[in-house]
Amino acid sequence: MLPIRPIGPISPMNIYWNLFSTFFRIGLFTIGGGYAMIPLIEAKVVDEKKWIGREELLDLIAVAQSCPGIFAINIGIFIGYKLRGKWGAVVTTLGTALPSFLIILAIALVFQQFRENIYVERIFRGIRPAVVALIAAPVFKMAQMAKISRYNIWIPVAATALIWLLGFSPIYVILLAGAGGYVYGQIKEDKL
């Protein structure tokens, strides 16, 4: 059980509102994915609100990265849980998710009609190749972070081939990779 830390002079109701509005703002101003929001979280949660320390934030980033799910949501859950238990986590989750949910819903409601429009179609014909490139670009940076060497390069290559050429679901690839890492560790241990 993580310690639930009392927050100085702020009254209990205020802390829920405070958590909600802080993470609502973080959700609203995060453009371009999870890693883009780290500086914003640092400014809000560490410097301004002093809810967690800077080192604690680094640990938290590592945990949020190694857990499944959405990075921003994971960070919100952790901080909410730490400060006010599971209701704190509920409040931060709602705060982080709500801005995107409302904006995307509004767009979805009108986009179906727009999509048929010839100009919108042209714009999206230009955008689609760019989106593919934006997804391709972080592959090499991720490879560096995952410490890909000539000994384990076959893992990402095999994962790519299974999904792209053989049509496997990425969910099974992830499960297989985790199980493979576990079994490999066990074999290595037996040999020692």
């Binding site: 059980m1 993580l2 959700g27 609203l28 101003f29 453009i31 994915g33 999870g34 890693y35 945990v63 949020a64 857990c67 799910g69 959405i70 921003a72 949501i73 859950i77 986590a89 989750t93 801005p99 949910f101 904006i103 995307i104 819903l105 767009i107 979805a108 409601l109 986009f111 042209r122 714009i123 999206f124 014909r125 230009g126 955008i127 689609r128 190749p129 760019a130 989106v131 593919v132 490139a133 934006l134 997804i135 391709a136 670009a137 972080p138 592959v139 991720m142 972070m145 890909i148 893992i155 990402p156 994962a159 790519t160 299974l162 792209w164 690839v173 297989l176 890492g181 490999y184 066990q186």
Partner: protein
């Protein structure tokens, strides 16, 4: 209708549960389930969703769950308010596993972060996530997104050009993805 809602819930619950490696790796899973497996939408529609998610604030996982939930239901011929329900169900489902797991795992991982079994599992997961990213971009290189040299050489070669422009400007020159998408949208409007 109810069956589709249930399938949306189940699909996004799994995506939330096995979505390691951040937004782009998650896109690969969403694409696998939503386009290849259930045929809720075409590859072109899916790419548009990724583009819209890129340009709007908020985590990509939430954005695409909201959007896919709406589009899958309305594509099946149901009214817009059922689409809104579809969005809510998908978004709730993609967050739920994080919520449960993050609370459990943050307790567990803080304690066992350096345990050999945990390290072994992650040594298999990290390289596989790199493969997931590579597969996500390869799977999106379709005639629908790029056209083909025989069908429309003009659009094909412009698309290839826009792909390399987007790749180099984000990877080498670190230009913000939002600006890249806007520029390619303008190029599409003028050139196509």
């Amino acid at each position: 209708m109810i069956a589709t809602l249930f399938l949306l819930f189940w699909t996004f619950f799994q995506i939330g549960l096995f979505g390691f490696g951040g937004g782009y790796a998650m896109i690969s899973m969403i694409q696998g389930e939503v386009v290849s497996h259930y045929h809720w939408m075409t590859m072109g529609q899916f790419t548009d969703i990724v583009a819209v998610s890129q340009m709007t604030p908020g985590p990509i996982g939430i954005n695409s769950a909201t959007y896919v939930g709406y589009t899958a239901i309305t594509n099946a011929g149901h009214a817009w308010y059922w689409g809104v329900l579809g969005s809510a169900v998908s978004t709730f489902a993609v967050v739920l596993p994080s919520f449960i797991l993050m609370i459990l795992i943050s307790r567990f991982l803080m304690k066992y972060k350096n345990h050999p079994v945990v390290e072994n599992v992650f040594s298999g997961l990290r390289p596989a996530v790199v493969g997931l990213l590579a597969a996500a971009s390869l799977c999106l290189m379709t005639p629908e997104n790029f056209s083909t040299p025989s069908e429309c050489p003009w659009q094909f070669w412009i698309s290839v050009g826009l792909f390399f422009f987007a790749f180099i400007s984000t990877k080498v020159y670190k230009i913000s993805p939002i600006h890249v998408i806007l520029l390619c949208g303008v190029a599409g409007l003028i050139l196509f």
